[in-house]
């Protein structure tokens, strides 16, 4: 039976935005922790750590996010965790975000002039103090714009969780489309909702990037 595309259907899709946001938030939080570890490992003095982190980044940047989702989804099942779209999507997107954020932040850490590190050596600061008080705060300033930019990429990436059965914005659209058969309107609405989420962040990222470029030019 074909349902009309009415107010209930629209509300169902709009309500699903919360799950897209929830999944994005989890993946971003997890990815921030993982990304910091990856970034620090990438600039570590220990050669093995550097290579390990590099391998991790290459692996996740060199394979499709969809395959990463599938592997985690089916892999968890093999490990006895059962079929769990929530867990699989959160874990896969976290691993994915860790690699990307790690690589972005490595670049930011390396952009901090080496004189800053040398000065803190000279002051006798240990690794933790040097990173925590000198290098990371400066890197963080450079990192804000590209990090917001990646957040847009991550929000768009959560749409792939629909393929393993996670009901977020895209999956909600598919469900409604399967009942109403008005794909032009349904996916049009879904696209608009993603745009509303992502566009302000894109503008923010661009604005911060420009402001930063102006600040460093002097």
């Amino acid at each position: 039976m074909i349902r009309p595309f009415g107010i209930d259907e629209i509300l169902f899709i709009v309500a699903a935005v919360q799950w897209t946001l929830a999944l994005s938030a989890i993946a971003f939080a997890g990815g921030a922790i993982g990304g910091l570890v990856v970034a620090l490992a990438r600039v570590s003095q220990v050669r093995a750590l550097r290579y390990l982190a590099l391998g991790y980044v290459r692996l996740f940047q060199g394979t499709p996010l969809l395959m990463q989702l599938f592997l985690v989804y089916f892999g968890l099942n093999i490990f006895g965790a059962g079929i769990n779209p929530w867990l699989a999507a959160s874990l896969a997107l976290t691993l994915h975000a860790s690699a990307f954020l790690g690589e972005i932040w490595r670049g930011c850490i390396e952009a901090v002039p080496s004189g800053q590190s040398e000065a803190s050596w000279a002051l006798g600061l240990g690794y933790v103090d040097r990173m925590k008080s000198i290098v990371l705060p400066q890197a963080a300033k450079i990192a804000v714009a590209p990090t917001v930019g990646f957040l847009v990429q991550l929000i768009k990436g959560t749409s792939l969780a629909s393929i393993i059965g996670f009901v977020e914005l895209t999956r909600a659209g598919q469900i409604i489309n399967n009942a109403t058969f008005v794909p032009f309107k349904v996916f049009g609405l879904v696209a608009i909702l993603y745009f509303v989420l992502c566009w302000p962040l894109s503008l923010l990222a661009r604005w911060m990037e420009r402001r930063f470029a102006v600040a460093t030019r002097r």
Partner: protein
């Protein structure tokens, strides 16, 4: 973990994987080529076009960059038939990938065009070349060289993104994986192998791109 990985069913279907790989390659290279053409035209329009043209290109870029590829391909494959535009799955995949990469590449190539010094255009103008000729003969190549690394990372990302076209039953590598896993239930093993194939593809692509770079941009740069 009691589970034993079973790769035999995967390798029994290797021919199927290879034909999927071929489609992935066709889609990737097709979209790269077409997307670059779209991008060159749009970038030229954005730098030198009249205001309404620039505005339309801006909307195109922002819409594509701020919506998921999955929704774009759904819209093209399921939504456009409502307007009487109907594609086969593989064609829809090519169209969606082209439209997608075109938007990203436009911004990249525009940055390249803006990096060209004004004197280059003036020299062309003074020699009597028309604006289109100046763009074609003087601007395009040095502009592409400047942004080549950014452009090729975008292309590798495009190849990885192409795995999503399996959702509209295009017959790419990921779709071959879906077929095999639904027949053999060796899901993890299938996707492990396919993921490895994608990884090899990305490595091969970056190798190929640096080879092309050395051949196409073999002129020295001034110090």
């Amino acid at each position: 973990m009691d589970y034993q990985l079973k790769f035999a069913p995967v390798f029994d279907n290797f021919g199927h994987l290879l034909s999927g790989l071929l489609v992935t390659l066709e889609l990737s290279f097709g979209a790269m080529l077409l997307g670059t053409l779209v991008a060159i035209v749009c970038a030229a329009g954005k730098t030198g076009g009249p205001r309404p043209v620039r505005w339309i290109i801006d909307v195109y870029i922002e819409v594509i960059r701020n919506t998921p590829f999955l929704i774009q391909i759904f819209f093209i494959f399921f939504g456009l038939p409502a307007l009487g535009i109907r594609f086969s799955p593989n064609t829809a995949a090519l169209v969606a990938l082209t439209v997608n990469v075109g938007a990203y590449a436009t911004e990249i190539i525009r940055a390249g065009i803006e990096s060209i010094q004004k004197g280059q255009v003036e020299a062309g103008t003074a020699l009597g070349l028309k604006p289109v000729q100046i763009f074609r003969y003087i601007i395009v190549k040095p502009a592409l060289r400047t942004v080549y690394p950014a452009l090729t990372s975008q292309f590798i990302y495009l190849m990885l993104t192409s795995s999503v076209v399996s959702v509209i039953s295009a017959t790419d590598l990921a779709a071959a994986g879906n077929d095999i896993q639904s027949q053999t239930f060796a899901s993890f093993e299938v996707y492990l192998v396919i993921t490895a194939m994608y990884l090899v593809l990305s490595i091969a692509f970056s190798g190929l791109f640096s080879l092309v770079e050395r051949m196409a941009f073999n002129y020295p740069l001034s110090r």
